[in-house]
């Protein structure tokens, strides 16, 4: 398949708010369950090992009219939960047998309780990731949580995986993360060949299909990208920070790139590459998965930063790794995690002489003019003076 046809395939999945691909999977796999999860991090390996299809729930973006969701949320709460409720209330998530709610913020946390009331037939689990600094205490706690999830899902799915099956799932997700890393590296290397719009659509499609298929698609896409290099433009290189939960509309991602900023790193759909290192395949698989989180969870707003220097130095390291010229803070309106982190991150970046701009979006933003102007000016100023 060509790059464009893979992107087109991914776009169809992204736009299909009936989740037909998940429904088809269920029809083709009778008796097996689809389990949803909200952003950011959910241990998908366990779902997979139990024979379930992990399904990322990322709201309806700008493609969903909110009819019922607004009755659940005040105007000063971000957009994501109302569109998740809308998806649920309109029956679009009725192919799920359960939903996991990671400890991303209090909005998602409270939504877990709402879900229990709205969908008593669903398995609902709040996933409290470990926050404590001591790695032994954190690992023991997290391994306990993972075992609990394994036992619950084993019961729900009727399939309790043995160690080998668990290990196979760990290995598969290691490969998948490696492939995603390669995809990101390919974009950073030649963003004109791997446009962020395509990369993003691919990631979104990956939230809906079995990991084996996603892995194959990434490899196919990378091969297609190698075969069809794009044409380089005189753009600046930026990283986008703050979009790890509520997702920016596709139009915003396109706007940033068209305004002259190649996105060379980002935190979109961060959960799919939350573990930076491979999960060890020797020893107890649950202990291994737990330890991998403790040792190599990506630095983000949703996990406590025990290192006092951590926030100050984070963006400098990321910018250097991505050979970026600047940072765009793009946070969802009313997103506490992203917006409370922003002053610390921005301070550190600016002290390191890194140009930054910031804006807020909503997943259903439809007007991009203001973003286009901001990103365009940012790109020009970087090119002219190396910063603003």
């Amino acid at each position: 398949m060509s790059r464009a046809s893979i992107a087109q395939w991914a776009k169809e999945l992204y736009e299909d708010l009936d989740f037909s691909v998940v429904r088809r999977w269920r029809e083709n796999n009778p008796g097996r369950k689809a389990i949803g999860y909200l952003p950011v991090y959910a241990p998908r390996e366990i779902l997979h090992a139990c024979g379930c299809l992990p399904v990322g729930i990322h709201g309806g973006g700008d493609r969903l009219e909110i009819i019922k969701g607004d009755a659940f949320y005040q105007s000063y709460i971000c957009h994501l939960p109302r569109s998740v409720i809308e998806l649920g209330q309109s029956g679009r998530l009725d192919m799920l047998s359960g939903v996991l709610f990671p400890s991303t913020c209090d909005v998602i946390r409270n939504l877990s309780g709402m879900w229990k009331l709205l969908y008593p037939e669903h398995y609902v689990r709040y996933i409290d990731v470990p926050q404590v600094a001591d790695p032994r205490i954190a690992t023991d706690f997290w391994a306990g949580e993972l075992r609990r999830l394994l036992s619950d899902l084993g019961e729900l799915s009727g399939h309790v995986p043995g160690e080998e099956e668990l290990r196979a799932s760990l290995a598969l997700y290691n490969d998948l993360r490696q492939a995603i890393r390669e995809l990101y590296a390919a974009r950073s290397e030649a963003p004109w060949t791997v446009p962020s719009e395509e990369l993003y659509l691919l990631l979104r499609a990956g939230e809906l299909i079995p990991p084996e298929e996603f892995l194959a698609k990434i490899r196919e896409y990378l091969a297609a990208a190698r075969a069809e290099p794009g044409r380089m433009r005189d753009n600046s290189r930026v990283i986008v920070v703050g979009s790890f939960c509520e997702q920016p509309p596709l139009g915003l991602i396109k706007t940033i790139e068209r305004a002259g900023c190649y996105i060379v790193d980002d935190d979109f759909i961060l959960g799919n590459r939350f573990l930076v290192e491979d999960v060890p395949l020797e020893g107890d698989p649950i202990e291994g998965l737990a330890a991998a989180f403790i040792q190599s969870a990506v630095k983000s707003s949703v996990v406590y930063e025990p290192d006092p220097e951590g926030k100050r130095t984070l963006l400098k390291a990321q910018v250097e790794a991505a050979r970026a010229d600047g940072v765009i803070f793009a946070a969802a309106s009313f997103c506490d995690p992203a917006l409370l982190d922003r002053p610390m991150l921005k301070d550190g970046a600016e002290k390191a002489g890194i140009p930054c701009i910031a804006f807020k979006f909503s997943e259903n933003s439809g007007q991009f003019q203001q973003f286009r102007e901001q990103a365009g000016t940012f790109s020009d100023s970087i090119k002219l003076w190396g910063g603003v």
Binding site: K116, Q131, D336
Partner: protein
């Protein structure tokens, strides 16, 4: 506290004690540069006051400073200051108020400079923002921080392994951090002694809160009760002063109850108790007196509230237990109101409506607080469905004066109370 309120209550003994203990506490904080008493900053929900004090350290609670700044009309400027430093208008105003206060010289509620912390004890209980708040404070103070992770009661119970996880953190993380910051060793006997004092205060506090079951209620269990929970939610749980305060308060409230008296509102004793309400959500602090008076003017007495459980839920039986000094703190933290899941919060409201024979309930939804506010519209509908009692939904903020619209709130409250009248008329017809 307001002058008129003091006059109305003829300077109750409890108020005198409270004023004194707060004044002494801030005096000690002021003298820290000379006395070198260690200082630990921590949060109201999940505060480990007995443990902190057992190390000879003085607790400082930034939320209390923020709400005091709100009451003293300083929060607007502090918030503006924080926003000038790059904080978003969208986030919790407690955090911004605190950051703004630090930037403006860290002058505390009594007008004197607050000492820097020797330790930030980040008790991560029921609120995500706490994590960011202390990460931000660490940037200001460059001092050690210890994280105490209190798992959320996602399934409505404190799971035994979560309790063990907390106890282990106390043993292996929190206590060593306190030892290091204070230079004192862990003294379990002293801790037990303090915990026993806590339980005594808790008994008296519960008696005070439950006095509202009587008609008329001798207390306002929201506006009035925020004063009552002040000591136990902050620096005084587990202290003899705290015990004295709650003993005096209970005696006064019992005397009022025996005399058939209602609560004292900002402008004096409340008239006839016309409506008995339950309130969910924190109050607004910038217009606190005005807000309370709106209720009092209508004869609306709050008989139970969830906000008064945010620093500990005692009215369902929990007491600090000296026999299990660390386990009991895990139980305490786990049960703080915002650490309880939505179905549990709804159960609590339904229970209050019944147990306190309330006519209605009001949700004050504050813009700042996702921990409280996200899901409140659903709580409203669920409580209505389960009790058959319609509720009222009002919106304001904790300490951002820009979000308090007196006219809107008054209108909303008045029409709600009229609706209660109409329902009563309908029911009796």
């Amino acid at each position: 506290m307001s002058k008129s309120r003091e006059d109305g209550a003829k300077k109750d003994q409890s108020m005198v004690i409270q004023k004194e203990m707060i004044a002494n506490h801030y005096k000690r904080l002021e003298r820290v540069p000379e006395t070198r008493e260690p200082v630990v900053y921590t949060f109201v929900p999940g505060n480990l006051t007995e443990l902190v004090r057992s190390f000879g350290a003085l607790p400082v609670l930034p939320e209390i400073n923020a709400l005091q700044s709100g009451m003293r009309k300083k929060s607007g400027d502090y918030i503006a200051e924080a926003e000038r430093h790059g904080h978003s208008e969208d986030v919790c105003t407690y955090v911004k108020c605190d950051i703004g206060m630090i930037k403006a010289g860290n002058i505390g509620p009594t007008g004197t400079r607050l000492p820097k912390p020797d330790l930030l004890l980040l008790s991560y209980t029921g609120c995500y923002t706490f994590m960011k708040w202390f990460e931000l404070l660490r940037e200001e103070y460059d001092c050690p921080t210890v994280f105490f992770h209190v798992p959320y009661q996602g399934d409505g119970i404190l799971e035994p392994e979560h309790r063990e996880y907390m106890v282990r953190q106390l043993h292996e993380e929190v206590i060593p951090a306190l030892e290091k910051a204070t230079g004192n060793s862990y003294d379990e006997d002293r801790l037990k002694e303090y915990l026993a004092l806590s339980a005594r205060s808790e008994d008296d506090l519960v008696a005070v809160l439950q006095s509202a079951k009587q008609r008329p209620s001798p207390i306002d269990a929201y506006f009035g009760a925020v004063y009552y929970v002040g000591p136990i939610f902050s620096a005084f749980r587990g202290t003899q002063e705290g015990v004295n305060y709650y003993k005096a308060l209970r005696q006064e409230v019992e005397a009022r109850a025996a005399a058939g008296l209602g609560p004292v509102a900002p402008s004096g004793p409340m008239g006839e108790e016309k409506y008995r309400l339950v309130v969910e959500g924190p109050p607004n602090w910038t217009h606190f007196r005005e807000f309370w008076q709106m209720f009092a003017d209508e004869g609306a007495c709050v008989v139970a509230s969830t906000y008064t459980k945010v620093g500990g839920t005692y009215d369902f039986g929990f007491r600090h237990d000296p026999a299990d000094p660390l386990g009991t703190q895990a139980d305490y933290c786990g049960g703080c109101y915002t650490n309880i899941n939505l179905p549990g919060r709804i159960d609590m409201l339904v229970d209050y409506l019944k147990a306190y024979e309330a006519d209605g309930f009001v949700i004050n939804s504050v813009k700042s607080c996702n921990s409280f506010s996200a899901g409140q519209l659903m709580m409203l509908r669920e409580v209505e469905k389960r009790t058959g009692i319609p509720g009222a939904f009002i919106e304001s903020d904790l300490v951002d004066p820009r979000y308090f619209s007196a006219a809107n709130i008054k209108n909303r409250l008045e029409s709600y109370l009229q609706m209660i009248d109409a329902r009563r008329a309908g029911l009796s017809a």
